[in-house]
Symmetry: C2
Subunit: 377 residues, 2 copies
């Protein structure tokens, strides 16, 4: 596996806070905890970090500085990066570019978000504003419309969406850092209230606070760490379709392109994957991404959810995904890498995928950003 | 001059809109115009662009996509970057890293902001909120306090601040894209209303909308363009002092470090500069930056403003600076590079600095980011 950059890129350390409701904890409390854990895991002091990329959406223009100053950072360049729900992935990819290009040996990628109810920002985006009908929040409305299209074309059912929620809540029950710690049944999911009809509450990711951090290093620095994991693909894609229409064509195009680019960089096929964290912001999204990833044929995602995914070689959203682990916007893409690394290290406890060798992470931001990374043990 | 990166970095094309009040124009209208101008100037089609960095503060998490989609961009990775008022500089430095590291041959840096009255965001920043006293906006209050400290220590006067405003408004009158097109006198400045006592309105930058773009390329691509300009330094610095106290120590430390790093990268001294665009968000800031840049001794900035700067070899804020050209947050750092490039090309019209060979740009974001670039003809 050649990898995506001229120089090898490794993840030498990972850290994250529990995801969920954090009461009075600030973004500095959360970000600091994640960074300190990641640095300790990498066996590095803060002084080793040459530059930092901070992914967040609603925390203020220099929120990254506030987090990093709290652990004594001075001097290094700090970049705050955004791409909506893919902000964390963007931070990881930026750090990987810095190391992979040879400009740095140690770069930090941090993601964090403190969110309250109804926190998803629609500022400035007319399409998103329009999409928000009287009593229906904008993003659930969008994914409800995607489900309707998928259902009309391919016969996808609400019960198939529920199967995704059941699987991911099940994984969440095995992940001590997930927001939801209880398994649910298909009946529970179907009985939860309608958020954006016909989507039920348990088919939507919750509002979440949390932080995650990864230490991205060169091969020689990685060699000094406990259990480094190699990055073998880093692909990022933008595409206007996702903003021009809330249609399957849009969500398919941008994500499929990024996934294919990542497979090509890593020289792997869907069959080679052991774990995949996908952007399951809604159950219908995970179903569409089964198809985008090539885990099943186009249109077969619903049936795959009900009958295929549990038996498949690749295990999907083992962290609990956005549906159960939670979705603190900027933290999500970084936390996906934490899960991939822990799986490949064999340190995922009850939810460990046996002999996991290759893991993929996939994140998507509304407005046009899809990021895919592949890692290997 | 070795330059800041393993590979040479050039600015092959620049573009910007007029800065000012733009009525109904959207960020897409403004950003599109700037990007199209920059690409035409570079003699490149959009297809040549491999990735793009978009600096903005209040435009939404994927505003960069909205701008770039409008010119037909599909596929390339788009990074939205933020560092408060240094967001534009951060975009330029990010694009320079991509090219300088060899990862890309053509990267776009775009900055834009559409601002209304009272638009400076204080979201999430308790210190900034506290600083905003009853009737005094936060940032003028901060710089008023900096002036008081400078005045107490070094005897700096309001008339010296006024001299900076007069100089920069004079340059603005010679820059067709500046928000303020009329020269003012010291009396005019002193007679303008007190915004944050004792600071007068004309000692503060205005609220501005606008966009700027630069095409950052490798040496071989630059050679095919009309009149490329070489980047010989790119330094970025973070430092907590600027957020921990609204004190001279803070604003001095972070900016001086970035400036010194840039001088070292380029192998130049203050005496070598022909032009310098500094972050003159308030007149007192420009005075402090004279000292930080080493154009005069520490504490002498006020006297230098009144007696030295007009006669000095280096011409400061020839674009009119933030005080006269305006300060659309994300656009500012990119527009500074536009000015530097035009000066070094000898295309600055009435405000052209004779035989300009070396130009510096300096931007600072509240919360802890200072960015300095140096260019040579």
């Amino acid at each position: 596996m050649a990898g995506p950059f001229p120089n090898e890129v490794h993840i030498a350390g990972v850290g994250m806070t529990p995801f969920g409701r954090h009461g009075d904890k600030t973004l500095v409390d959360l970000g600091k905890a994640a960074v300190e854990t990641a640095l300790a895991d990498a066996g590095l002091d803060y002084e080793a970090v040459e530059l930092a990329y901070c992914g967040h959406v609603m925390q203020g223009s220099t929120a990254g500085q506030r987090v990093l100053y709290s652990i004594g950072a001075t001097g290094i360049p700090i970049f705050n990066v955004e791409n909506a729900c893919a902000s964390g992935t963007t931070a990881v990819r930026s750090a990987a570019m810095a190391v992979g290009s040879g400009l740095a040996k140690v770069a930090l990628a941090v993601g964090f978000e403190v969110m309250g109810r109804g926190a998803i920002p629609t500022r400035g985006d007319e399409r998103l504003e329009k999409m928000a009908k009287a009593d229906v929040p904008a993003l659930p409305a969008m994914f409800s419309s995607l489900f309707n299209e998928h259902s009309r074309r391919y016969g996808t059912t609400l019960e198939q969406l529920a199967a995704v929620s059941v699987k991911n809540r099940g994984y969440g029950a095995k992940n001590p850092r997930a927001q939801f710690q209880e398994p649910v049944t298909v009946d529970d999911v179907m009985a939860s209230r309608e958020v954006a009809p016909p989507l039920r509450l348990f088919m939507c990711c919750p509002t979440t606070s949390g932080a995650a951090a990864v230490v991205v290093t060169s091969e020689d620095v990685a060699r000094t760490s406990r259990k480094p994991i190699k990055m073998v693909a880093s692909a990022m894609q933008s595409d206007p379709l996702i903003t021009e229409s809330d249609s399957l064509a849009g969500i398919t195009e941008i994500n499929t392109k990024a996934m294919r680019a990542a497979y090509e960089q890593a020289g792997v096929s869907p069959d080679d994957l052991d774990c995949a964290e996908v952007h399951d912001c809604f159950s219908i999204a995970e179903i569409i991404h089964y198809e985008n990833l090539g885990l099943c044929e186009r249109g077969e995602g619903g049936r795959f959810a009900e009958q295929g995914v549990e038996k498949a070689h690749v295990k999907v959203s083992t962290s609990g995904g956005l549906l159960a682990k939670g979705h603190p916007l900027g933290a999500t893409g970084v936390a996906q890498v934490v899960e991939a690394v822990e799986q490949l290290r064999g340190e995922s406890g009850e939810r460990q995928v046996e002999n996991a060798r290759i893991a993929l992470t996939h994140c998507q931001g509304f407005g046009g950003a899809a990021g895919v990374h592949i890692f290997t043990a």
